[in-house]
């Protein structure tokens, strides 16, 4: 269902959820959003549970940073305090925990979008419905494709370097090694962009020229229903939490 959900409406819904999680500074809300997103990933997008868990690791680390700052070190980050104040006085639990779950919730909501959306479809939808100029659209597509490739490229760079220096390859790069990889990685990205430009040109992409698009699934009443349902669910949860709080 998520995979066939129209990318633009899906984007709207995910953004709405993320904005809500920024505004509603409640533990219960964050946990609910987090659970819902995780469930969708496993049950609907059929992402293996193990992979979902792995996906959470960076977000959890991230959230843990907030957690340690604001709880263990008692140095409440201005950010957290501000959020707590916006919600009217002190929050129900330590802001650190709420922040921790908010990171996870936002992360999973983004993952729902990123893992179930084909960059090609998204870009074509943007070109079709929002009149994004094709050169910008395909540059965006290139940028979206390059991110997942960085991991493999980094490994290849590390292998080549290990071979050059005559050292065995370490499983995890040392921090120093990771920093020195930044320049080659950037160089790779620019080189790839340069090649893509030549490839686009050789295949006839040209600003201002009329071009067609692979037929994209139209926005159907199912998509609208999904969007409405999603927004309604959001509104309901918010309402329930607010009445519960007051």
């Amino acid at each position: 269902m998520l995979r066939s959900f129209h990318p633009l409406l899906k984007l709207t819904l995910c953004l709405a959820w993320i904005i809500a999680s920024l505004v509603v500074f409640r533990l219960s809300f964050q946990v609910a959003l987090f659970a819902a997103a995780t469930l969708l990933l496993i049950a609907d997008a059929r992402v293996p549970p193990l992979r979902v868990l792995l996906l959470m690791v960076p977000f959890a680390l991230f959230g843990f940073g907030f957690f340690t700052t604001s709880v263990l070190f008692r140095a409440e980050s201005g950010f957290a305090l501000q959020m707590a104040q916006e919600q009217g006085g002190t929050p129900d639990v330590a802001p650190g925990i709420v922040l921790f779950f908010r990171v996870l919730a936002c992360g999973m909501a983004s993952a729902v979008f990123a893992l179930t959306t084909d960059p090609g479809q998204l870009v074509r939808a943007l070109m079709q419905h929002l009149r994004l100029p094709p050169p910008l659209g395909f540059s965006l597509m290139q940028a979206m494709h390059i991110v997942p490739d960085l991991r493999a490229e980094m490994l290849e760079l590390r292998m080549a370097r290990a071979i050059r220096l005559g050292r065995p390859l370490r499983r995890v790069p040392a921090p120093g090694e990771a920093i020195t990889l930044a320049i080659p990685l950037l160089a790779y990205a620019i080189r790839r962009a340069t090649r893509a430009a030549l490839s686009f040109e050789a295949r006839g992409l040209q600003p201002g020229r009329r071009r067609s698009n692979m037929p994209q699934p139209p926005i159907t009443w199912i998509d609208w229903t999904l969007l409405t349902l999603g927004l309604a669910a959001l509104a309901m949860i918010t309402a329930v939490i607010h009445t519960g709080a007051t």
Partner: protein, 523 residues
């Protein structure tokens, strides 16, 4: 009717270069004509193709002298992107032809740009995939998760979908297994379509082209004519210019009294006296080297590409000192994956690897470059200055020593990447991933000798290649990968005689197969 493509005294120079990369060249491609462009590595073939629609010097910085006409119009009368309806490119590097999207997006890209009706696009994409032999299930795969040869096939499908009447193809078959290469050449050089093809190994192309043009080392047209005539009458000149010749032509050059060029090799060999057996054996087979201790072993290993699924199961394999092992198989069989595993760079997902650490010369030579010039890359090996000069000379890189590695021609890149690993003795185990792709005849012969020399020093060498003749001439042992498993592990010579087994894996017997037969009969 005007020529499909005509170069009139064209000379091209890259920005920052001190001399012209090629030219002056005058050359024409008639409508429907198929031309093979030969030339040593660095002769300027790719640059010449880039200039055809004005990509050079519009997008690749440089300058041009002379005139180029496309269908009778000067090339600069339209922008390069406008010419996409006339001229389709298959660049030397598939990573250049494609942009790195999903297979479907890549194939649909050119037709979309031409504004072809949206409802016709899905059918066009599916049809191009079928013609190129790509499973429909790959439509959503990303290009960067494909093997080198698979990318090349997707590039071909994208070109077919573009449907331009003139095709410019730069070494289209260099990273393809023989059967796939034939299919590719058949599609590219279909009757009635004008095409200009660059190829170092003209074997599969020869039957389908109308004319052959050879560039000399000075970047000018040296020889021109019907392919068979050019090979028959100018073999010596071509070889001198570094251009690879088919085996029959090479044998005929060395044994002009015995080998009749008008006969197929099998029949011609019948006239060779048995006394020549040793000579013929040396020409097609390596001199044996006694093998030493085992250097690296895979034991029940499951191999997977980085971040990919397991593609080879339960591989048990060992490599000895002094041994040259050929790793053969169709595209996507898992050869590069096995290389990473056998070298110890990527641990197997199951099973064990033991032994000395190994190094791989990657299929993509650019992966090895890290410095600002060819010379400083070589200096990075920490040899004395005179040794640096000798290395540059040995690998024919002296003339480009000051250039940035990424501006080299494909063959020069390949030689540099090979030199960087062959010229250190840090690694007892050395794996070469398609070392001959992009090499010209002279460089390939030098490489064969170098590989044997390394083995004699006690190195264990594994060699991944699609060139059966090259495998036969340097490796004693071969493994054949297919369908996720090792299907054969034994003497290379025995495998090369087994045409059923080879064709079952998308390979073809080497050109030297008749010689092997002759040797067996003679001794």
């Amino acid at each position: 009717m005007p020529d499909a493509l005509a170069y009139d005294r064209v000379a091209l120079r890259h920005d920052g270069a001190l001399a012209d990369a090629v030219g002056p060249v005058s050359l024409a491609l008639a409508p429907g004509e198929r031309v093979l462009l030969l030339g040593a590595s660095g002769a300027g073939k790719s640059t010449l193709l880039h200039a055809a629609t004005g990509l050079f010097p519009e997008s690749i910085p440089g300058s041009r002298r002379g005139e180029i006409l496309l269908g009778g119009c000067p090339v600069e009368s339209r922008r390069p992107a406008d010419w996409a309806d006339t001229c389709g490119y298959l660049f030397q590097d598939a990573a250049q032809t494609l942009a790195g999207f999903t297979v479907r997006d890549e194939i649909a890209f050119a037709p979309e740009n031409q504004g072809i009706e949206a409802r016709r696009l899905p059918g066009l994409v599916a049809e191009s995939m079928t013609r190129a032999g790509i499973p429909q299930g790959w439509a959503d795969r990303r290009i960067t998760t494909l093997s080198g040869g698979e990318r090349q096939i997707v590039a071909l499908a994208a070109l077919l979908a573009q449907g331009a009447p003139v095709t410019l193809a730069d070494e289209p078959a260099a990273s393809l297994a023989p059967a796939a290469a034939r299919r590719m050449v058949g599609l590219l050089l279909a009757q009635g379509h004008a095409a200009m093809v660059v190829e170092h190994k003209p074997g599969p192309v020869l039957d389908r082209i109308d004319r052959c043009v050879a560039l000399g080392r000075d970047g000018r047209v040296m020889i021109e004519g019907a392919p068979r005539d050019v090979l028959r009458h100018h073999g010596a000149a071509l070889a001198k210019a570094g251009i690879a010749l088919p085996l029959a032509a090479r044998l005929q050059l060395s044994l002009p009294d015995h080998i009749n060029p008008d006969l197929p090799l099998q029949a011609a060999l019948a006239r060779v006296p048995p006394a020549r057996a040793q000579w013929l054996r040396d020409a097609v087979l390596p001199t044996p080297i006694p093998s030493g201790e085992t250097l690296a072993t895979l034991d029940g290993a499951d191999c997977a590409p980085a971040f990919g699924p397991v593609v080879l199961r339960d591989v048990s394999l060992s490599l000895r000192a002094g041994e040259v092992l050929a790793i053969l198989g169709p595209n996507g069989a898992g050869k590069s994956t096995l290389a990473a595993c056998l070298s110890g760079l990527l641990p197997p997902r199951a099973g064990r690897r033991t032994g000395a650490p190994g190094a791989v010369v990657f299929q993509n030579p650019e992966a090895h470059f890290s410095r600002e010039s060819v010379r400083s890359e070589i200096e990075g090996l920490n040899h004395a200055p005179d040794r640096v000069a000798r290395i540059l000379d040995d690998w024919a890189l002296t003339t480009v020593a000051g250039q940035h590695p990424f501006t080299l021609s494909q063959g020069q890149k390949r030689r540099l990447s090979l030199a960087l690993l062959a010229e250190t003795d840090r690694w007892p185990v050395l794996i070469l991933d398609e070392p001959t792709a992009g090499l010209d005849g002279a460089a390939e012969a030098a490489l064969a000798q170098r590989i044997r020399a390394l083995a004699r020093e006690g190195r264990g060498i594994a060699l991944i290649t699609h060139d059966m003749d090259f495998a036969l001439s340097v490796a004693e042992r071969a493994v054949l990968l297919n369908r996720g498993a090792v299907q054969f592990d034994g003497p290379c010579r025995a495998l090369m005689r087994n045409s059923a087994r080879l064709s079952g894996a998308g390979l073809l017997p080497p050109e030297a197969a008749p010689v092997l037969g002759w040797l067996e009969a003679a001794c």
